[in-house]
């Protein structure tokens, strides 16, 4: 049925670098979008452009070109190839260098403005019906959310067991285990929303494990690998299912608690140049803060800078202001 479905519009490099499959056009677009997002962030009316940038990025990288942003595994593997295979090194670093540079300048701008997986998760929060369920503090809705998470968990376990490879069981399924972990952490958050900050701190520990596994030489896949269509691994698909389904219950749970790339960018974001600060005269309640901020970086009187995605929704809502450039 889907055999003749063409997922990617362009399957060859548009501007081949040195007669290779590497496409300068992809990198230029990536760089351009980051730059555009940075400019839009500076502008007071820039917030309105965010969905546009997100949509363009999503369509361009998911349906038009076939390149994948392998920012962690690809980079670490490419470091191992320095002096041996320059093409791999170039491939690995070409994405990472602008990503680090823009993160240092604008914070986790990639997460809020460009990341296709973040965009897909955010879409759920924009559906009024889902948003109402997500934000409704009533105990029976809480029970329903828990029940749904349990159902998603078992569905993901079923898919994992159904599609698991016969050999290398653990190492080939890391993406699915991370997907399962997302569901568990989201469940803990539903049980006790006050534990959000503690759960968020877990991501650095999980990032350490993730990097350690890559350093061991294991070909780690990520739920977002499947999105790009370049690495449609069964574990990535199961992970992607878990991440997206969980996002309908707990907004952007993957970005908050587990995303390895997001976690590493959040470490760099501590040094970023633009700062968002909660207004001193701001009088927003906890509920309002939750409604404004997808990732719950905004508290009543504070902003969790490492979690802030720089979507500027809080600035638009008048709760925060950009402090300095």
């Amino acid at each position: 049925m889907f055999e003749n479905l063409k997922w990617k519009l362009v399957e060859r490099p548009i501007l081949p670098i040195g007669n290779t499959y590497l496409d300068a056009f992809v990198f230029l677009v990536f760089f351009g979008l980051l730059f555009f997002a940075g400019i839009a962030l500076k502008n007071k009316r820039g917030i309105g452009l965010r969905p546009f940038v997100q949509a363009v990025t999503f369509v361009f990288f998911i349906f038009i070109v076939h390149r994948c942003f392998c920012a962690l595994r690809g980079t670490i593997f490419s470091f191992q190839d320095i002096g041996k295979n320059d093409l791999n090194v170039f491939n690995g670093l070409f994405i990472l260098v602008p990503l680090i540079a823009f993160t240092l300048l604008f914070g986790r701008i990639f997460c809020a403005w460009l990341c296709p997986l973040g965009f897909m998760q955010e879409v759920f929060f924009r559906v009024p019906f889902i948003k109402r369920i997500i934000l409704d503090p009533a105990p029976r809705i809480k029970r329903l959310r828990l029940l749904l998470l349990v159902a998603i968990f078992f569905a993901a376990v079923f898919l994992l067991l159904e599609f698991r490879p016969k050999t290398f069981f653990f190492v080939q399924n890391i993406a699915s285990f991370w997907g399962l972990a997302t569901i568990i952490l989201a469940g803990l958050f539903v049980l006790n929303p006050g534990a959000d900050l503690k759960l968020k701190k877990l991501r650095y520990f999980l990032l350490f494990i993730w990097l350690f596994i890559i350093f061991l030489g294991i070909f780690v896949t990520d739920p977002w690998c499947a999105l790009y269509g370049n690495e449609i691994d069964y574990s990535s698909l199961v992970g992607l299912f878990a991440v997206l389904a969980t996002a309908a219950i707990v907004p952007m749970a993957w970005c908050r608690y587990l995303c390895p790339l997001g976690s590493s960018l959040s470490l760099m974001a501590k040094f970023f140049q633009i700062k968002i600060k909660v207004k001193k005269d701001s009088v927003i309640s906890k509920i309002e803060a939750r409604q404004i901020c997808y990732v719950q970086a905004l508290e009543e009187k504070a902003l969790d800078k490492s979690s802030c995605l720089f979507c500027k929704r809080c600035v638009e809502a008048g709760a925060s202001e950009i402090e300095e450039l």
Partner: protein
């Protein structure tokens, strides 16, 4: 009556001569059977009760696996040398072995400076049976097929401290104007400060003497095994590189006729299907596409997307007048596509990645595909509908994990051990397994 007996005898003699000739013609002489990488043999097993015949274990022990290492032995070739069926395969222990195909006993071995990761090629040069193999010690060796004596060795680059291990390809033999050429790709890299280089180079040597005729630098990344076809009647070499390019070169002088850049890295070698109308090249990519390219222009005729990356080399079989392409994918499937249209004929899902290339043969006249999957099984599938005819459990891998793409997995080969068809698979447990049908077969 006497006349009938004489006629019958003549027929029998003709049949025997035909079988003998055919047996020689259908030797599995190199990587994927021949210089076109068809992977297709006309050897026919008598029945589907294929059983383990013998195991050749070079050392009786296995060294530790390390990431980036090859599988324990390269793909084998099975040939009839002066009436003796011999299997040639290089191993991880820097040794190249000639093994008696009938019983798996060692005939001779040759020790080189590094591992043999790729299949050797056999050819008779000036009536002398020779076997050629490229080694990771940057050298291409020509050995006497009967004695193992080194005839010549061509070192592609002199040794230095800063050189990495060479990545070589399986060589092919090109017959050109009464001259036998050996084409082989070698990737050398030096980490010399300020003067480092990475060169994927195609070497064409005189097969008789080892003299270099020409070499062409095609890429900064490793090259895959070349294959031989023709463009407008002229012999042409087709080769792919890890950076995503497919090249067509004039076999006479090495001039690039065309180059196309495909979607992603290429770790699959091209295969050629030549018929009366045109020649087509088949190759799989890391993006999961199987490409059918026009050999004359390099233009894409059709593409088919599988669920994951393709590293295996397509095998091409002709069944009842129709050509089919068989390929394994990281999506765990073994696929059969119609070579003319690209329509999927069937797919069979195994338990894990299918990285090695398929070998085609027959069982009781029925076309079958032999393929290895990383679910540790060797499969035999029906060539027309993909149903499982036979499978063999090779046992667990002897290491906990291998980084995807780091290991070169060997592929099965089919040939004759005297009058008995055999299937040979150099396995990841450092052993060479041979299988045969219980009641023989034909060629």
């Amino acid at each position: 009556m006497a006349c009938c007996v004489k006629k019958l005898t003549n027929v029998l003699v003709f049949c025997l001569i035909f079988l003998a000739t055919n047996a020689y013609c259908d030797d599995w002489t190199g990587f994927q059977h021949d210089s076109t990488h068809s992977g297709s043999s006309t050897v026919s097993f008598a029945d589907e009760f294929i059983t383990h015949l013998w195991t050749f274990s070079p050392t009786g022990r296995t060294w530790n696996y390390k990431s980036g290492s090859s599988v324990w032995s390269s793909s084998a070739c099975i040939v009839d040398v002066k009436g003796k069926s011999i299997i040639y395969a290089g191993f991880y222990n820097n040794n190249f072995y000639a093994v008696d195909a009938k019983d798996g006993s060692l005939i001779w071995r040759f020790i080189a400076g590094n591992r043999f990761n790729h299949a050797p090629v056999f050819a008779e040069i000036n009536s002398r049976p020779m076997v050629f193999a490229a080694c990771s010690d940057r050298t291409i060796y020509a050995l006497d097929a009967l004695s193992g004596e080194k005839i010549w060795g061509y070192e592609t680059l002199p040794w230095s401290y800063m050189l990495s291990e060479a990545i070589v390809s399986s060589p092919i033999i090109i017959r050109l104007d009464n001259l036998s050429l050996l084409a082989c790709a070698v990737w050398n890299s030096s980490q010399m400060p300020f003067n480092s280089f990475q060169k994927g180079q195609l070497y064409v040597l005189n097969a008789a003497s080892g003299e270099k005729l020409y070499s062409v630098v095609l890429s900064a990344t490793p090259l895959n095994s070349p294959c031989l076809g023709n463009i407008n009647g002229e012999p042409a070499i087709f080769i792919s590189s890890n950076d995503g390019s497919v090249f067509a070169l004039n076999a006479k002088d090495g001039k690039v006729i065309w180059q196309v850049i495909l979607d992603s890295g290429l770790f699959s070698s091209p295969s050629i299907l030549s018929d009366k109308q045109n020649s087509r090249i088949f190759i799989g990519s890391r993006f999961g596409n199987l490409y059918c390219l026009d050999a004359v222009t390099g233009k894409t005729i059709w593409t088919k997307k599988t669920g994951h990356a393709i590293d295996s080399t397509p095998a091409i079989g002709n069944i009842d007048g129709n050509a089919y392409v068989y390929i394994g994918s990281y999506d765990r499937n073994i696929y059969c596509f119609d070579a003319a249209t690209g329509e999927k004929v069937w797919n069979y899902k195994t338990g894990d990645y299918v990285v090695s290339s398929c070998a085609l043969a027959r069982i009781s006249g029925r076309a079958v595909v032999f393929a290895h999957s990383l679910d540790n099984k060797l499969y035999c599938l029906d060539g027309l509908n993909g149903s499982v005819v036979w499978n063999f459990d090779l046992g667990k891998l002897i290491w906990a994990y291998n980084t995807r793409g780091d290991t070169i997995w060997s592929s099965p080969a089919v040939g004759m051990a005297g009058d008995k068809p055999i299937l040979v698979f150099p396995c990841y447990d450092s052993k060479l397994y041979a299988f045969s049908a219980a009641i023989g077969g034909s060629n």
